[in-house]
Symmetry: C2
Subunit: 226 residues, 2 copies
Protein backbone atom coordinates (compact mmCIF):
# COMPACT_ATOMS: atom_id res chain seq x y z
CA UNK A 1 0.00 0.00 0.00
CA UNK A 2 2.70 2.44 1.04
CA UNK A 3 4.67 1.83 -2.13
CA UNK A 4 1.67 2.49 -4.35
CA UNK A 5 1.03 5.72 -2.46
CA UNK A 6 4.63 6.87 -3.02
CA UNK A 7 4.38 6.04 -6.69
CA UNK A 8 1.21 8.07 -6.96
CA UNK A 9 2.79 11.00 -5.14
CA UNK A 10 5.66 10.94 -7.63
CA UNK A 11 3.24 10.87 -10.56
CA UNK A 12 1.35 13.81 -9.05
CA UNK A 13 4.57 15.78 -8.67
CA UNK A 14 5.50 15.04 -12.28
CA UNK A 15 2.17 16.30 -13.57
CA UNK A 16 2.54 19.50 -11.56
CA UNK A 17 6.04 20.06 -12.95
CA UNK A 18 4.80 19.47 -16.47
CA UNK A 19 2.19 22.14 -15.86
CA UNK A 20 4.83 24.50 -14.47
CA UNK A 21 7.07 24.06 -17.48
CA UNK A 22 4.13 24.66 -19.83
CA UNK A 23 3.31 27.87 -17.96
CA UNK A 24 6.93 28.99 -18.20
CA UNK A 25 6.96 28.28 -21.92
CA UNK A 26 3.74 30.26 -22.34
CA UNK A 27 5.31 33.34 -20.73
CA UNK A 28 8.44 33.02 -22.86
CA UNK A 29 6.59 32.57 -26.14
CA UNK A 30 3.99 35.28 -25.44
CA UNK A 31 6.74 37.83 -24.79
CA UNK A 32 8.70 36.64 -27.83
CA UNK A 33 5.56 37.22 -29.92
CA UNK A 34 5.26 40.70 -28.42
CA UNK A 35 8.90 41.70 -28.86
CA UNK A 36 9.26 40.26 -32.37
CA UNK A 37 5.76 41.38 -33.32
CA UNK A 38 5.04 37.87 -34.57
CA UNK A 39 1.39 36.99 -34.10
CA UNK A 40 1.88 33.38 -35.22
CA UNK A 41 3.84 32.68 -32.01
CA UNK A 42 0.78 33.50 -29.96
CA UNK A 43 -1.00 30.43 -31.30
CA UNK A 44 1.46 28.28 -29.37
CA UNK A 45 0.36 30.01 -26.17
CA UNK A 46 -3.30 29.28 -26.86
CA UNK A 47 -2.45 25.68 -27.65
CA UNK A 48 -0.43 25.26 -24.46
CA UNK A 49 -3.37 26.60 -22.48
CA UNK A 50 -5.53 23.66 -23.50
CA UNK A 51 -3.00 21.24 -22.04
CA UNK A 52 -2.69 23.36 -18.89
CA UNK A 53 -6.45 23.26 -18.43
CA UNK A 54 -6.53 19.49 -18.76
CA UNK A 55 -3.69 19.16 -16.25
CA UNK A 56 -5.49 21.53 -13.88
CA UNK A 57 -8.44 19.15 -13.72
CA UNK A 58 -6.31 16.01 -13.68
CA UNK A 59 -4.09 17.20 -10.81
CA UNK A 60 -7.05 18.20 -8.66
CA UNK A 61 -8.63 14.86 -9.36
CA UNK A 62 -5.50 12.87 -8.51
CA UNK A 63 -5.06 14.89 -5.32
CA UNK A 64 -8.60 14.29 -4.15
CA UNK A 65 -8.28 10.57 -4.84
CA UNK A 66 -5.04 10.41 -2.85
CA UNK A 67 -6.72 12.19 0.06
CA UNK A 68 -9.75 9.92 -0.08
CA UNK A 69 -8.03 6.58 -0.57
CA UNK A 70 -4.84 6.93 1.47
CA UNK A 71 -5.87 9.40 4.18
CA UNK A 72 -2.31 10.72 4.42
CA UNK A 73 -0.92 12.35 7.56
CA UNK A 74 1.44 15.20 8.43
CA UNK A 75 3.92 16.09 5.66
CA UNK A 76 2.13 13.97 3.03
CA UNK A 77 -1.15 15.68 3.81
CA UNK A 78 0.49 19.09 3.61
CA UNK A 79 2.19 18.09 0.35
CA UNK A 80 -1.13 17.20 -1.26
CA UNK A 81 -2.85 20.31 0.09
CA UNK A 82 0.04 22.39 -1.28
CA UNK A 83 -0.30 20.63 -4.64
CA UNK A 84 -3.98 21.58 -4.85
CA UNK A 85 -3.12 25.20 -4.15
CA UNK A 86 -0.08 25.38 -6.43
CA UNK A 87 -2.12 23.75 -9.19
CA UNK A 88 -4.55 26.67 -9.04
CA UNK A 89 -1.70 29.23 -9.03
CA UNK A 90 -0.11 27.64 -12.11
CA UNK A 91 -3.40 27.69 -13.95
CA UNK A 92 -3.72 31.39 -13.19
CA UNK A 93 -0.19 32.12 -14.35
CA UNK A 94 -1.03 30.39 -17.62
CA UNK A 95 -4.22 32.49 -17.83
CA UNK A 96 -2.11 35.62 -17.49
CA UNK A 97 0.15 34.45 -20.32
CA UNK A 98 -2.98 34.05 -22.43
CA UNK A 99 -4.00 37.58 -21.47
CA UNK A 100 -0.56 38.87 -22.49
CA UNK A 101 -1.08 37.19 -25.86
CA UNK A 102 -4.55 38.65 -26.29
CA UNK A 103 -3.37 42.14 -25.37
CA UNK A 104 -0.49 41.64 -27.81
CA UNK A 105 -2.93 40.77 -30.58
CA UNK A 106 -4.60 44.15 -30.07
CA UNK A 107 -1.25 45.93 -29.88
CA UNK A 108 0.01 44.43 -33.14
CA UNK A 109 -2.75 46.21 -35.04
CA UNK A 110 -0.79 49.45 -34.52
CA UNK A 111 2.74 50.46 -35.47
CA UNK A 112 5.41 49.99 -32.81
CA UNK A 113 5.23 52.61 -30.06
CA UNK A 114 8.72 52.12 -28.60
CA UNK A 115 11.38 49.45 -28.27
CA UNK A 116 10.52 47.20 -25.33
CA UNK A 117 13.06 46.81 -22.56
CA UNK A 118 11.29 46.76 -19.20
CA UNK A 119 8.51 44.38 -20.22
CA UNK A 120 10.89 41.61 -21.37
CA UNK A 121 12.81 42.22 -18.13
CA UNK A 122 9.59 41.71 -16.15
CA UNK A 123 8.90 38.51 -18.08
CA UNK A 124 12.38 37.18 -17.23
CA UNK A 125 11.82 37.87 -13.54
CA UNK A 126 8.38 36.26 -13.61
CA UNK A 127 9.76 33.14 -15.33
CA UNK A 128 12.60 32.88 -12.82
CA UNK A 129 10.22 33.31 -9.89
CA UNK A 130 8.01 30.57 -11.26
CA UNK A 131 10.96 28.26 -11.86
CA UNK A 132 12.48 28.87 -8.41
CA UNK A 133 9.16 28.52 -6.60
CA UNK A 134 8.64 25.10 -8.17
CA UNK A 135 12.21 24.09 -7.41
CA UNK A 136 11.60 25.11 -3.80
CA UNK A 137 8.47 22.95 -3.82
CA UNK A 138 10.18 19.88 -5.25
CA UNK A 139 13.23 20.15 -3.00
CA UNK A 140 11.14 21.18 0.02
CA UNK A 141 13.47 24.19 0.28
CA UNK A 142 11.95 27.03 2.35
CA UNK A 143 15.10 29.17 1.98
CA UNK A 144 14.77 29.24 -1.79
CA UNK A 145 11.06 30.00 -1.38
CA UNK A 146 11.90 32.89 0.93
CA UNK A 147 14.54 34.27 -1.46
CA UNK A 148 12.09 34.04 -4.34
CA UNK A 149 9.47 36.03 -2.42
CA UNK A 150 11.83 39.00 -2.35
CA UNK A 151 11.96 39.11 -6.17
CA UNK A 152 8.36 40.24 -6.32
CA UNK A 153 9.30 43.81 -5.33
CA UNK A 154 11.30 44.10 -8.55
CA UNK A 155 8.20 43.34 -10.58
CA UNK A 156 6.15 45.89 -8.67
CA UNK A 157 8.80 48.55 -9.19
CA UNK A 158 9.08 47.84 -12.91
CA UNK A 159 5.32 47.91 -13.27
CA UNK A 160 5.20 51.35 -11.64
CA UNK A 161 8.06 52.59 -13.78
CA UNK A 162 6.38 51.38 -16.98
CA UNK A 163 3.15 53.02 -15.90
CA UNK A 164 4.79 56.40 -15.33
CA UNK A 165 6.64 56.26 -18.61
CA UNK A 166 3.57 55.32 -20.64
CA UNK A 167 1.49 57.95 -18.90
CA UNK A 168 3.96 60.52 -20.25
CA UNK A 169 3.52 59.15 -23.77
CA UNK A 170 -0.26 59.30 -23.49
CA UNK A 171 -0.32 62.84 -22.12
CA UNK A 172 2.03 64.06 -24.85
CA UNK A 173 0.21 62.38 -27.73
CA UNK A 174 -3.32 60.99 -27.50
CA UNK A 175 -2.55 58.98 -30.64
CA UNK A 176 -0.50 56.66 -28.43
CA UNK A 177 -3.24 55.98 -25.87
CA UNK A 178 -4.44 52.62 -27.15
CA UNK A 179 -0.97 51.19 -27.52
CA UNK A 180 0.15 52.56 -24.18
CA UNK A 181 -2.90 51.00 -22.53
CA UNK A 182 -2.05 47.61 -24.07
CA UNK A 183 1.46 47.81 -22.67
CA UNK A 184 0.20 48.90 -19.24
CA UNK A 185 -2.16 45.94 -19.16
CA UNK A 186 0.61 43.56 -20.23
CA UNK A 187 2.86 44.85 -17.45
CA UNK A 188 0.03 44.17 -15.01
CA UNK A 189 -0.43 40.66 -16.39
CA UNK A 190 3.26 40.02 -15.69
CA UNK A 191 3.05 41.53 -12.22
CA UNK A 192 0.17 39.20 -11.38
CA UNK A 193 2.26 36.21 -12.45
CA UNK A 194 4.71 37.31 -9.76
CA UNK A 195 1.88 37.43 -7.22
CA UNK A 196 0.94 33.86 -8.07
CA UNK A 197 4.57 32.69 -7.83
CA UNK A 198 4.66 34.42 -4.43
CA UNK A 199 1.64 32.39 -3.37
CA UNK A 200 3.44 29.22 -4.45
CA UNK A 201 6.41 30.19 -2.26
CA UNK A 202 4.14 30.77 0.72
CA UNK A 203 2.52 27.40 0.17
CA UNK A 204 5.97 25.77 0.10
CA UNK A 205 6.97 27.39 3.38
CA UNK A 206 3.71 26.26 4.98
CA UNK A 207 4.16 22.76 3.63
CA UNK A 208 7.70 22.37 4.94
CA UNK A 209 7.51 24.29 8.17
CA UNK A 210 3.80 24.14 8.99
CA UNK A 211 4.12 27.89 9.46
CA UNK A 212 1.80 30.37 7.80
CA UNK A 213 3.73 33.45 6.71
CA UNK A 214 0.91 35.04 4.75
CA UNK A 215 -0.41 38.44 5.72
CA UNK A 216 2.48 39.96 7.66
CA UNK A 217 1.97 43.55 8.79
CA UNK A 218 1.64 45.56 5.61
CA UNK A 219 3.01 49.06 4.97
CA UNK A 220 0.29 51.74 4.77
CA UNK A 221 -1.55 52.07 1.47
CA UNK A 222 0.58 54.01 -0.99
CA UNK A 223 -0.65 56.22 -3.78
CA UNK A 224 0.19 53.56 -6.38
CA UNK A 225 -2.43 52.27 -8.75
CA UNK A 226 -3.68 48.80 -7.84
Amino acid sequence: MERLFDKELTALKERLLRMGSLAQNMIRVAIKGLVERDESLLEEVFKNEEEVNQLHIEIDDRSMKLLALHQPMAIDLRFIAATIKINSELERIADQAVNVSQNTQVLLKYPQLKPLIDIPRMAEIAQKMLNDSLEAFINKDPDLAQATLAEDDKLDDLKDQIFRELLTYMMADPGTIQRALCLILISRNLERMGDHATNVCEDVIYMVQGRDIRHPQKPPASSRFH
Copy 2:
Protein backbone atom coordinates in the same frame (compact mmCIF):
# COMPACT_ATOMS: atom_id res chain seq x y z
CA MET B 1 -16.35 11.42 17.53
CA GLU B 2 -18.83 11.98 14.73
CA ARG B 3 -20.63 14.65 16.68
CA LEU B 4 -17.44 16.59 17.38
CA PHE B 5 -16.61 16.44 13.68
CA ASP B 6 -20.03 17.82 12.73
CA LYS B 7 -19.64 20.60 15.26
CA GLU B 8 -16.29 21.48 13.80
CA LEU B 9 -17.68 21.46 10.26
CA THR B 10 -20.39 23.90 11.36
CA ALA B 11 -17.81 26.17 12.97
CA LEU B 12 -15.74 26.08 9.79
CA LYS B 13 -18.76 27.00 7.70
CA GLU B 14 -19.55 29.90 10.04
CA ARG B 15 -16.05 31.30 9.75
CA LEU B 16 -16.22 31.10 5.97
CA LEU B 17 -19.57 32.91 5.94
CA ARG B 18 -18.18 35.59 8.24
CA MET B 19 -15.36 36.08 5.75
CA GLY B 20 -17.84 36.25 2.88
CA SER B 21 -19.92 38.89 4.60
CA LEU B 22 -16.81 40.93 5.37
CA ALA B 23 -15.79 40.76 1.71
CA GLN B 24 -19.26 41.86 0.64
CA ASN B 25 -19.15 44.77 3.05
CA MET B 26 -15.74 45.77 1.71
CA ILE B 27 -17.09 45.98 -1.85
CA ARG B 28 -20.11 47.98 -0.71
CA VAL B 29 -18.12 50.46 1.37
CA ALA B 30 -15.32 50.89 -1.18
CA ILE B 31 -17.84 51.81 -3.88
CA LYS B 32 -19.73 54.08 -1.49
CA GLY B 33 -16.43 55.88 -0.81
CA LEU B 34 -15.88 56.19 -4.55
CA VAL B 35 -19.37 57.42 -5.42
CA GLU B 36 -19.66 59.82 -2.48
CA ARG B 37 -16.00 60.85 -2.81
CA ASP B 38 -15.58 60.18 0.90
CA GLU B 39 -12.06 59.00 1.65
CA SER B 40 -12.85 58.31 5.31
CA LEU B 41 -15.03 55.37 4.27
CA LEU B 42 -12.04 53.66 2.73
CA GLU B 43 -10.50 53.20 6.17
CA GLU B 44 -13.25 50.73 6.98
CA VAL B 45 -12.18 48.66 3.99
CA PHE B 46 -8.58 48.55 5.16
CA LYS B 47 -9.72 47.61 8.66
CA ASN B 48 -11.96 44.81 7.35
CA GLU B 49 -9.01 43.46 5.39
CA GLU B 50 -7.11 42.72 8.58
CA GLU B 51 -9.93 40.54 9.84
CA VAL B 52 -10.23 38.84 6.46
CA ASN B 53 -6.53 38.02 6.53
CA GLN B 54 -6.80 36.49 9.98
CA LEU B 55 -9.79 34.43 8.89
CA HIS B 56 -7.92 33.30 5.78
CA ILE B 57 -5.22 31.75 7.95
CA GLU B 58 -7.66 30.41 10.55
CA ILE B 59 -9.91 28.70 8.00
CA ASP B 60 -6.98 27.02 6.25
CA ASP B 61 -5.71 25.88 9.60
CA ARG B 62 -9.06 24.50 10.75
CA SER B 63 -9.49 22.71 7.41
CA MET B 64 -6.10 21.06 7.57
CA LYS B 65 -6.74 19.91 11.15
CA LEU B 66 -10.09 18.41 10.12
CA LEU B 67 -8.42 16.56 7.26
CA ALA B 68 -5.62 15.30 9.49
CA LEU B 69 -7.63 14.32 12.54
CA HIS B 70 -10.87 13.01 11.06
CA GLN B 71 -9.79 11.72 7.64
CA PRO B 72 -13.19 12.48 6.17
CA MET B 73 -14.59 10.67 3.16
CA ALA B 74 -16.70 11.50 0.09
CA ILE B 75 -18.93 14.57 0.52
CA ASP B 76 -17.21 15.69 3.75
CA LEU B 77 -13.82 15.51 2.09
CA ARG B 78 -15.10 17.46 -0.90
CA PHE B 79 -16.70 19.99 1.46
CA ILE B 80 -13.40 20.65 3.20
CA ALA B 81 -11.46 20.78 -0.07
CA ALA B 82 -14.05 23.26 -1.39
CA THR B 83 -13.69 25.32 1.78
CA ILE B 84 -9.93 25.60 1.28
CA LYS B 85 -10.46 26.81 -2.28
CA ILE B 86 -13.34 29.17 -1.50
CA ASN B 87 -11.31 30.61 1.36
CA SER B 88 -8.64 31.63 -1.10
CA GLU B 89 -11.21 33.12 -3.51
CA LEU B 90 -12.76 35.21 -0.73
CA GLU B 91 -9.39 36.52 0.31
CA ARG B 92 -8.75 37.59 -3.27
CA ILE B 93 -12.11 39.29 -3.56
CA ALA B 94 -11.26 41.24 -0.40
CA ASP B 95 -7.89 42.12 -1.95
CA GLN B 96 -9.69 43.51 -4.96
CA ALA B 97 -11.89 45.65 -2.71
CA VAL B 98 -8.69 47.00 -1.16
CA ASN B 99 -7.39 47.74 -4.65
CA VAL B 100 -10.63 49.58 -5.49
CA SER B 101 -10.08 51.67 -2.36
CA GLN B 102 -6.47 52.41 -3.22
CA ASN B 103 -7.35 53.39 -6.78
CA THR B 104 -10.12 55.56 -5.34
CA GLN B 105 -7.60 57.32 -3.09
CA VAL B 106 -5.65 58.32 -6.19
CA LEU B 107 -8.82 59.34 -8.04
CA LEU B 108 -10.04 61.59 -5.23
CA LYS B 109 -7.01 63.83 -5.70
CA TYR B 110 -8.66 65.09 -8.88
CA PRO B 111 -12.02 66.77 -9.53
CA GLN B 112 -14.86 64.49 -10.56
CA LEU B 113 -14.60 63.32 -14.18
CA LYS B 114 -18.17 62.14 -14.65
CA PRO B 115 -21.12 60.82 -12.63
CA LEU B 116 -20.65 57.12 -12.03
CA ILE B 117 -23.37 54.76 -13.19
CA ASP B 118 -21.81 51.64 -14.66
CA ILE B 119 -19.23 51.11 -11.94
CA PRO B 120 -21.79 51.03 -9.09
CA ARG B 121 -23.81 48.68 -11.31
CA MET B 122 -20.79 46.40 -11.63
CA ALA B 123 -20.31 46.49 -7.86
CA GLU B 124 -23.92 45.45 -7.32
CA ILE B 125 -23.54 42.50 -9.65
CA ALA B 126 -20.27 41.46 -8.01
CA GLN B 127 -21.85 41.60 -4.55
CA LYS B 128 -24.83 39.58 -5.69
CA MET B 129 -22.60 36.99 -7.36
CA LEU B 130 -20.59 36.66 -4.16
CA ASN B 131 -23.71 36.37 -2.04
CA ASP B 132 -25.35 33.79 -4.31
CA SER B 133 -22.20 31.72 -4.71
CA LEU B 134 -21.93 31.42 -0.92
CA GLU B 135 -25.60 30.61 -0.61
CA ALA B 136 -25.11 27.89 -3.22
CA PHE B 137 -22.21 26.55 -1.15
CA ILE B 138 -24.14 26.52 2.12
CA ASN B 139 -27.26 24.98 0.63
CA LYS B 140 -25.26 22.64 -1.61
CA ASP B 141 -27.29 24.06 -4.49
CA PRO B 142 -25.65 23.46 -7.88
CA ASP B 143 -28.52 25.11 -9.76
CA LEU B 144 -27.98 28.41 -7.98
CA ALA B 145 -24.25 28.05 -8.63
CA GLN B 146 -24.94 27.49 -12.32
CA ALA B 147 -27.29 30.50 -12.52
CA THR B 148 -24.70 32.67 -10.78
CA LEU B 149 -22.02 31.68 -13.29
CA ALA B 150 -24.08 33.28 -16.05
CA GLU B 151 -23.98 36.67 -14.31
CA ASP B 152 -20.28 37.00 -15.01
CA ASP B 153 -20.92 37.92 -18.65
CA LYS B 154 -22.69 41.06 -17.49
CA LEU B 155 -19.57 42.16 -15.65
CA ASP B 156 -17.39 41.51 -18.68
CA ASP B 157 -19.74 43.50 -20.91
CA LEU B 158 -19.89 46.43 -18.51
CA LYS B 159 -16.11 46.41 -18.18
CA ASP B 160 -15.74 46.61 -21.97
CA GLN B 161 -18.35 49.35 -22.19
CA ILE B 162 -16.61 51.41 -19.49
CA PHE B 163 -13.31 50.93 -21.26
CA ARG B 164 -14.63 52.20 -24.57
CA GLU B 165 -16.30 55.20 -22.97
CA LEU B 166 -13.22 56.22 -21.00
CA LEU B 167 -11.00 55.76 -24.01
CA THR B 168 -13.14 58.39 -25.75
CA TYR B 169 -12.62 60.76 -22.82
CA MET B 170 -8.86 60.24 -22.88
CA MET B 171 -8.54 60.73 -26.63
CA ALA B 172 -10.61 63.92 -26.51
CA ASP B 173 -8.80 65.46 -23.55
CA PRO B 174 -5.43 64.23 -22.24
CA GLY B 175 -6.21 66.10 -19.00
CA THR B 176 -8.60 63.25 -18.16
CA ILE B 177 -6.09 60.43 -18.67
CA GLN B 178 -5.14 59.83 -15.03
CA ARG B 179 -8.72 59.81 -13.80
CA ALA B 180 -9.90 57.66 -16.68
CA LEU B 181 -7.11 55.18 -15.93
CA CYS B 182 -8.20 54.98 -12.28
CA LEU B 183 -11.74 54.20 -13.35
CA ILE B 184 -10.58 51.60 -15.88
CA LEU B 185 -8.53 49.89 -13.18
CA ILE B 186 -11.46 49.96 -10.75
CA SER B 187 -13.72 48.37 -13.36
CA ARG B 188 -11.12 45.64 -13.77
CA ASN B 189 -10.94 45.12 -10.01
CA LEU B 190 -14.70 44.56 -10.02
CA GLU B 191 -14.52 42.24 -12.99
CA ARG B 192 -11.94 40.11 -11.19
CA MET B 193 -14.25 39.82 -8.20
CA GLY B 194 -16.74 38.24 -10.57
CA ASP B 195 -14.06 35.81 -11.75
CA HIS B 196 -13.43 34.74 -8.17
CA ALA B 197 -17.16 34.33 -7.48
CA THR B 198 -17.27 32.21 -10.64
CA ASN B 199 -14.53 30.02 -9.21
CA VAL B 200 -16.57 29.62 -6.02
CA CYS B 201 -19.56 28.46 -8.10
CA GLU B 202 -17.42 25.91 -9.92
CA ASP B 203 -16.11 24.63 -6.60
CA VAL B 204 -19.68 24.25 -5.35
CA ILE B 205 -20.70 22.25 -8.41
CA TYR B 206 -17.68 20.00 -8.02
CA MET B 207 -18.39 19.55 -4.32
CA VAL B 208 -22.02 18.57 -4.83
CA GLN B 209 -21.83 16.63 -8.05
CA GLY B 210 -18.20 15.51 -8.08
CA ARG B 211 -18.20 16.91 -11.62
CA ASP B 212 -15.54 19.30 -12.84
CA ILE B 213 -17.09 21.91 -15.10
CA ARG B 214 -14.02 24.11 -15.39
CA HIS B 215 -12.45 24.75 -18.75
CA PRO B 216 -15.25 24.05 -21.19
CA GLN B 217 -14.51 24.74 -24.85
CA LYS B 218 -13.84 28.47 -25.05
CA PRO B 219 -14.84 30.81 -27.88
CA PRO B 220 -11.88 32.01 -29.99
CA ALA B 221 -9.80 34.87 -28.59
CA SER B 222 -11.56 38.15 -29.18
CA SER B 223 -9.94 41.50 -29.65
CA ARG B 224 -10.87 42.57 -26.13
CA PHE B 225 -8.26 43.79 -23.71
CA HIS B 226 -7.38 41.23 -21.04
